[in-house]
Amino acid sequence: MLTTSSAFGMAVGGVGFQVQLPDDAWLAVLAPLYNEFPLDCEPEWQVTVSHDPDLDLGGQRWIEHDGPLTRFSVNGYGGWVDLERRQALVRTASLTLGSASLEGALAYACMQELPRTRHSLLLHAAGIHWQGRGLVVSGHAGAGKTTVARLAQGNAELFNDEMVIVDLSESQPKLLSTPFVGPTTPPELVRRINRRAPASALLLLAHASIFELQPLSPAEAVLELLRTNLAAVERTASATAWLAAVDRLVQALPAYQLRFRPTTELWDFLAGALLPLMEEPCAS
């Protein structure tokens, strides 16, 4: 792909991206959003954002796979990701969709790349840094990730309410933030900060009228993660690496089902119920 001056580099989870934008106006608006994710390694991926003012996807939402090539149309933008050549192109009708479309392509690339080459996982989950520990908070749409993210403010540090990385390359798993903002993330919860913490627990959420923490077996945890990360295993070629990484994850991290009420009492409950079960975090 041709790279011109309207380009910038960034890295997420150790994966380097060279991002080509339509012009300098796009660069001035979009590149600053990722200031905290500077390119600190060789860019392996080339991602091009293309401006197509006449693009009308008519609200279509589909993903199709053809060998290493994935074509998609989601949330008003479309394009393709080529896992073999490590290239992606995303077309969008306007700059206001620029960050969403770029992050869609980057997140998909990370989701596929990390398990295969980095012993890491991009998960559809909130990441919360609490009491020196990283909590991976997962659950299906509506299970309460955003609610917990809101409740975290003032009690913990929110890494991201939608997508986080768990790095399993060393014996102590690490929770890494990402700059990816979900389509349902409220603006006040948007964080594009670059943080990491020792990962200490995987919490699978369910709304309830009580607080309850139930240990899950590794098999139950894998099934729950599968339900919330289906896009990661749609390609059979990638599913093996993803499942292997998830297997490492559930062996390394204790998993619990957390039934909770949407109040800040959650943190007192976790201090009483979860904290005694967790090991002291190692320095990250």
Partner: protein
Amino acid sequence: MRILTIGPVGVVAMQRVLNWLAERDAEVWVVDQDDSYRALAPAGFHFSVLAPATRDAPAPSAAPVIDPQAVASLQHIAAQFQPEVVHVHNVDALGLACVQAGLGPLLVSTWGALGQRVGQTEPSLSPAVRQVLAAADALIVDAPTLLAPAQALAKPGARIELLPMGADTQRFRPGRTEAALLWRTLFGIPDDAFVLLSPRMWGAFYGHQAILQSYALACPRFNQPTRLALVGLGDGPDVLPHMAAAWRAVAHSDAAAAVRWLPRIRYQQMPTLYAMSDAVVNYPEVDSFAATLIEAAACETPIITPLLPTYRGAFVETLCTLVEPGSLEALAEAMVQVVNQPPGERQARLDQARQVAQREYDDTVIEPRLWTLYQELARGA
């Protein structure tokens, strides 16, 4: 002109000077404690990395002793380069190493080193800072009220220059740019919302806790939708507890949904930050003369600020909305006053502020003065 320039290049004040020197075709040798400038240095600039270790001070009132190897390295660079001026941009270990290496003529930018807390009559300084200031042939201060403290700390005969950081008022200018409008959209800010911007990075001294709490107090009294934009969450060790405490006060108020957390913004992107905002809230406990004040003035953005000792004797006294330090209620009242004020009522004052920025703080004013200072120091004047 050969200028030995001592780091840290990461600070904007030094980057601006290096850019000016490149435009002047000066011969420059940069020494910094990390390697980040190597890839960015203009062709023809020399660059060295030197991270001097320090040994314990021989007495509590004495400065630490710099590792002799680092001192010798600096002396070697100076012998090779024969600088006409040595400009120390931060009073840190490298600055101290220059002093202990006996380099000169030595020009020291004091920036935050002389910053005063509210209520302090003079800055409290470490022995290391005192040694550097006392060794300099010239000191740069950025606020009129720092002239006297600098004079008292400098050696007899040293020059004290009032030379604020300044701003390029062609880039920092009024008006909502297209990029700024897009940022508002991308940060989830409605078109009709009045944006109060806190442009300082998160840190212990910048008053974010007070800004958040005051915003929550003020919210019910605003006569139009508002958003509070906070910039750069920082990564210092004090940031997390500081932020949690700040947030706890507002997490369950209506203000919580109106806060926007913006990423760390680079200097070249700052004009867009002001252009997307409607007023700046600056509420530090201690400061020198913040570039924020000059930039916001140049952008005709209303400024809410306490009148810190270092802000006296400048346009802040007459052209900003002044707030008593350490008072949540006063800060909230100032926010209400600025947000609810009809724009026409403040325009004359904003016009004046920009005129002051252009007349006194523009790059075209500051850069030649610095160059003249270099020339005079080189001549031994």
